[in-house]
């Protein structure tokens, strides 16, 4: 079983704050982390490997410094990590990103299963996984919360939707995106950390993966960012004052009196 896990380095958006005076992003002290949703994907891949055997290869696209961070996944138990990095990829939207990653997966070759986190916390698009699958020509399923059974040629799983979940069977090779219900990612082990220290992370350029420059980076990205701005929070409210009892009465009157709550 050969499993590829796609991960992304992201700013820790839970740490990002807006300076209310200048209305700008405060970035100081905001660390770059591996996308938390991707850690569930790494964990699930390692669990599959522990169960049925195989290799776990972590794949990422980003600037060269991501290579060091990918070692975390080796410390957890991934066998190798590969970084796709090239100036040609700058400005990639989800389509161009999925193109580059799909080319890398084709170079890795003979992959049975690709696992992605459900989305990255910086962009929240959830698009790259399904787009990779389409580019390689393999089926995909999203929002997977449980793998019931897996072999080299078939996977049976549960995928979430708004009403509950579906049990679905899919032939492999295929791609899945996983949600956090699926597992609890492990911490690295000491032996893993020592192994990761010594690990070499290959960096693949656009040429290495035989990528068509027209499909990479800005040129390969149909979507453009026109504007980025800080969202405004509307302020319209009425803050009650007085004793708690009074405030509660005001509120109940406002809602029941106006027939909003009946």
């Amino acid at each position: 079983m050969k499993i590829v896990v796609c991960v992304k380095q992201v700013p820790d958006t839970t740490e990002v704050k807006i300076n209310p005076e200048t209305n700008t992003l405060i970035r100081e002290g905001v660390a770059s982390i591996l996308n938390p949703f991707d850690m569930y994907a790494v964990e699930e891949a390692i669990r599959i490997k522990e169960k049925v055997g195989g290799t776990v290869i972590v794949l990422s696209m980003g600037p060269p410094q991501v290579a060091e961070q990918l070692k975390e996944t080796i410390a957890m138990g991934a066998d190798e990590a590969i970084l796709v990095s090239d100036r040609a990829f700058a400005g990639s939207d989800t389509l161009a990103t999925s193109y580059a990653l799909s080319k890398a997966i084709e170079k890795i070759a003979d992959v049975n299963l690709v696992i992605c986190g459900k989305q990255a916390i910086d962009g929240d698009t959830a698009q790259v996984g399904p787009e990779i699958a389409e580019k390689i020509g393999i089926p995909h399923l999203t929002y997977v919360k449980k793998i019931e059974a897996i072999s080299e040629t078939e996977i049976t799983l549960e995928r979430m939707n708004e009403d509950g979940y579906e049990r679905v069977q899919m032939p492999l090779p295929g791609l899945i995106t996983v949600v956090k219900e699926i597992n609890e990612p492990r911490l690295p082990s000491l032996k893993g950390m020592m192994r990761s220290k010594k690990a070499e992370i290959p960096i693949w350029s656009a040429a290495d993966i035989d990528a068509d420059p027209a499909k990479c980076g800005l040129n390969g990205s149909p979507t453009w960012v026109k504007r980025i701005f800080i969202p405004e929070i509307k302020c319209q409210g009425e803050i009650f004052s007085g004793e708690p009892e009074e405030q509660v009465k005001f509120l109940v009157n406002a809602l029941v009196g106006r027939k909003i709550v009946v």
Partner: protein
């Protein structure tokens, strides 16, 4: 290709410096310099009053955009029932179509779904494509992509909108990748540039801390998934007339790889949170998981659903299914009562389209009060039982 600073236009005013989400702009000798690592996101370009920054693309427009017409909405159905988001898309799609002077078209895939097609007309569609086949009864990526892509290639719509639901967010990227076109996820604002017939797609990024407006200027169709509960449906008009076109599937060679073994509906909390008229949500201000009982009591009194902030969910006080926010559910009830929730931006992203927001928090500076229609400053543990009692009295 890349980012360029026109030094003759740059006055070193520093306005662009904080606009970079990655902190990569520096002023050196009174000129802006982009440091290594720029991923060409373009955030800085619009901040420069002197137009000194430009993202240069090597653009080859290969398509004739004038051939693409119509605003399409994917009319999602589950178990034969039209999803609310389909109606919301028609509501917003109507505006966009009217501005562009193009028809609003709904595409419905399923099995035995004529009655739902009529609803689409009532909610504003000018035309409805109905693809009816047993293979389409339940959503599967392969069958839906196949039918949709065929239809798009034949009819050439300008815009395709889908709900940012479990189905929409799995189907849209597959369709977009097959069509080699752009796709913007989870939009909360839509507009059009009439001259270029471009869709202006606004969506949250960075956990809701930033908003980005995205264009897809040189590819067609322009595709977006749209967050449910953000837009409002039109009042249904049962007298509206429109053409309902059956899609001919007689020659379709189905290639469906995955197979549904079982559909499990977990009725209860997870469903009624998004459909609920009233939601009572608890946050870390409740101090202890057992105090969620107070939230439940108020919810029971009001016939409301129970929600929670990420902080409460992360602390293990209540299951993830209750989480409201950027990484949880987006809700838009008539009344949203936030109990002991400070209002982190990521929470606000999930509930700000609620009609009435009530905030109860002991910190008067909590961001939730900025959004609140009504606010009570006080100890939520003290306020909640009082509120339950008062509502019981008032509602009989």
């Amino acid at each position: 290709m890349g980012i360029k600073i026109y030094l003759e236009k740059c006055y070193g005013c520093k306005v662009c410096v904080p606009s970079c989400p990655f902190g990569l702009i520096e002023i050196v000798d009174k000129k802006a310099v982009i440091k290594d690592g720029c991923n060409l996101c373009g955030a800085c370009v619009s901040t420069c009053k002197f137009k000194a920054i430009e993202i240069i693309r090597d653009v080859k427009v290969t398509i004739d955009k004038s051939l693409y017409k119509g605003v399409w909405i994917f009319a999602e159905q589950r178990n034969g029932q039209l999803a609310n988001v389909a109606k919301e898309l028609l509501g917003e799609g109507r505006k966009l179509a009217d501005e562009l002077g193009e028809p609003l078209v709904a595409v419905l895939l399923g099995h035995n779904i004529e009655s739902e097609a009529k609803q689409l007309v009532a909610y504003g569609a000018d035309q409805v494509f109905v693809a009816d086949a047993p293979q389409l009864e339940h959503f599967l990526e392969d069958s839906y992509t196949q039918v949709l892509v065929d239809l798009v290639q034949k009819e050439r719509p300008n815009i395709i909108l889908m709900g940012a639901t479990a189905i929409g967010r799995s189907l849209a990227p597959k369709v977009a990748a097959r069509l080699e076109t752009g796709l913007t996820a989870d939009c909360t604002g839509l507009d059009v540039d009439v001259a270029e017939k471009n869709l202006l797609q606004t969506r949250p990024a960075f956990g809701g801390n930033l908003m980005a407006t995205i264009l897809c200027p040189n590819h067609r169709p322009q595709m977006a998934t749209v967050r449910p509960k953000v837009f409002k449906p039109l009042e249904p008009d049962l007298g509206r007339k429109a053409t309902i076109t059956k899609v001919d599937l007689s020659k379709t060679q189905w290639e469906i790889r995955a197979k549904i073994l079982e559909i499990v509906n977990e009725v209860g909390h997870s469903v009624n949170l998004e459909e609920a008229n009233i939601i009572v949500s608890g946050g870390r201000g409740l101090c202890d998981p057992k105090n969620f009982e107070l939230v439940r009591e108020l919810a029971d009194t009001l016939g409301a659903a129970v929600g929670a902030s990420r902080a409460a969910v992360d602390s293990g006080w209540i299951p993830y299914a209750h989480q409201v926010g950027q990484t949880g559910k987006t809700v838009g009830p008539k009344v949203y009562i936030a109990c002991g929730i400070r209002g982190a931006i990521q929470h606000l992203a999930g509930m700000q389209s609620s009609d009435i927001i009530v905030a109860i928090n002991k910190d008067p500076d909590a961001p939730i009060f900025k959004l609140a229609t009504y606010g009570i400053v006080g100890d939520v543990l003290e306020i909640l039982p009082m509120l339950t009692k008062e509502f019981k009295k008032a509602l009989g």
